[in-house]
Symmetry: C2
Amino acid sequence: MLRIRRAHPEDSAAIWSILEPVIRAGETYALDRAMPRTAALAYWVGGDKETFVAEGEDGALLGTYYLRANQSGGGSHVANCGYMTASTATGRGIARAMCNHSLDRARQRGFRAMQFNFVVSSNTRAVALWQSCGFAIVGRLPLAFAHPTLGMGDALVMHQAL
Amino acid sequence: MLRIRRAHPEDSAAIWSILEPVIRAGETYALDRAMPRTAALAYWVGGDKETFVAEGEDGALLGTYYLRANQSGGGSHVANCGYMTASTATGRGIARAMCNHSLDRARQRGFRAMQFNFVVSSNTRAVALWQSCGFAIVGRLPLAFAHPTLGMGDALVMHQAL
């Protein structure tokens, strides 16, 4: 049982406990690995974003995602999301549940498509998951990501119409 | 004769006179067409950007561009730029001069590639210009841009290694 709901200010500590290991690892997000808590929370729960959390049966937060318009003006009909799963909760379908939730929410808000700007190609589980959720690879950014152990690799742009 | 130099605070009015018609037209940038001056200048001359101006012989500003890292962390070796030419100065090679200047500057700063995230495909002059400057199309974002008169069209991701 997973309950996905809007994030509240009281969730900050739990959200940070999900974000911190992902940011520090630097393997999947193009974010400064030394990013401090305040900046990370401002980035994830910023004013232009709608932020959600995935709560387990015991109330523990197992994942979080944000939804925003990917561009302004003539590009504001395309949504963008970022997802992170708690390191203790991987492999349990939480990212998939959050992705499906975000697609519904984006449709509800009237977005016409969803785009991921920077999917690290070595993150093969994520690439396969997004494909199984209906996303297609529409761009390949050559050697766009410096992975801490794998070195330079491509990043992908993924997209689906809503 | 064109002199390209760093923008100074005193250039704000002249930069805004270049930005305003481009933003209000809404044909080439995914920005809110009603974006106010303060927000537009904060966007163009923001803290994460190095902003340049192209000055004609008489000191008038004929164009402006910014250079920044396109991503943080593992993506910070890729540069990103935005260019605008004064509406009175199009067709005089100013965008090309700014692009070449930005490529040199990006190399000088140690960037390994340059990426444009959102080139409106109906802006065929820009697409051809970037291609002639060495950029390749590495992604196509389907119907990502709502042009005010042409309707929905694709946007392109363009890239070149440095």
